[in-house]
């Protein structure tokens, strides 16, 4: 019994030996040293990608003689049988759905982890 009392006494003292340490600016110092948030890096990346896409589109428009290929392609599509147009639209929507589902699953895995 005495042994039990002694262990209780020692455990209690050990638990109380370290009082709560005031933050005193510690958290702020840690946060100051963190790398910039990913969101700002992502915004910069998105702006660069958008700029490059616009530039490439303008370039393609000029090089292709004022975008004549667009009207030619639309004419060709219009000449296709209705079944072919339906199949093309279905395939396109399946591809978009597959990409969306993959993105959703990977985000959900991150949340679960």
């Amino acid at each position: 019994m005495e042994q039990v009392n002694q262990e209780d006494w020692l455990d209690k003292e050990l638990r109380e030996a370290t009082p709560y340490i005031d933050d005193a600016g510690f958290t702020a110092r840690v946060l100051q040293q963190l790398p910039p948030p990913r969101r700002s890096r992502d915004l910069l990346r998105a702006a660069i990608l958008l700029g490059m896409t616009l530039l490439a589109s303008v370039l393609a428009y000029v090089v292709s003689g004022g975008g004549r290929f667009v009207s030619v392609t639309i004419e060709r599509l219009a000449a296709l049988p209705a079944l072919w147009v339906f199949l093309l639209a279905l395939a396109s929507s399946l591809v978009v759905a597959a990409v969306g589902a993959t993105a959703a699953i990977s985000r959900e895995r991150l949340l679960r982890a």
């Binding site: 370290t18 933050d23 510690f26 958290t27 840690v30 040293q33 790398p35 948030p37 969101r39 991150l110």
Partner: protein, 178 residues
């Protein structure tokens, strides 16, 4: 409703939310700094430097936290690794001569007496026993959790805790119940 550690970790992972990480630091800073102060034999400045390193490393490697253990246990493991790496660089911290042992003044330990003697007795223990006693008896980790933090077998943790406690009881015999 207060968010759990797991919720905050999820926010850091998904949105790189630094406010959420700040909340995690605020919640655990006292325990991590306290542990490191004991490991470094109350060298407050060194302990706080190591605590900062611990949280920065935790932020950079937060994807490595898989939620198998408590977030605090994961942090203790990083803190202990930071301490060990630093101790390897400054060999004098591990192999310190007991005669040289003059515990620096810790402002948090203002009350001399039993607590002062306990701190001193803890600092006299070899590192393996000190760290096991600190984690299990002071920070409330199970032997299994302590084994993960210290990266040693479960049986070794139990032996180190037992030996450390025996030594503490012997050193502090005058303070114990009669």
């Amino acid at each position: 409703m207060e968010l759990t550690d797991a919720d905050l970790v999820a926010r850091v992972l998904v949105d790189d939310d630094q406010h959420a990480f700040g909340e995690l630091v605020r919640r655990h800073q006292s325990a991590v700094r306290g542990l490191l102060r004991q490991l470094t034999r109350t060298d407050v400045a060194l302990a706080d430097d190591l605590a900062q390193q611990t949280f920065l490393r935790a932020y950079k490697n937060i994807r490595g936290f898989r939620g198998e253990a408590r977030f605090s246990t994961w942090l203790y493991r990083i803190a202990y690794n930071c301490f060990r790496e630093d101790a390897r660089r400054r060999k004098e911290l591990v192999g310190i001569d007991e005669a040289q042992l003059q515990t620096q003044h810790d402002p948090q330990v203002a009350n001399p007496g039993l607590r002062h003697d306990l701190m001193r007795a803890l600092s006299l223990l070899p590192l393996n026993e000190r760290s096991a006693v600190l984690l299990c008896c002071q920070n409330g980790l199970s032997h299994d959790e302590a084994a993960r933090v210290l990266d040693i077998p479960l049986g070794t943790v139990k032996t180190n805790v037992l030996r450390g406690r025996e030594k503490l009881k012997r050193i502090l015999a005058d303070w114990g119940p009669n």
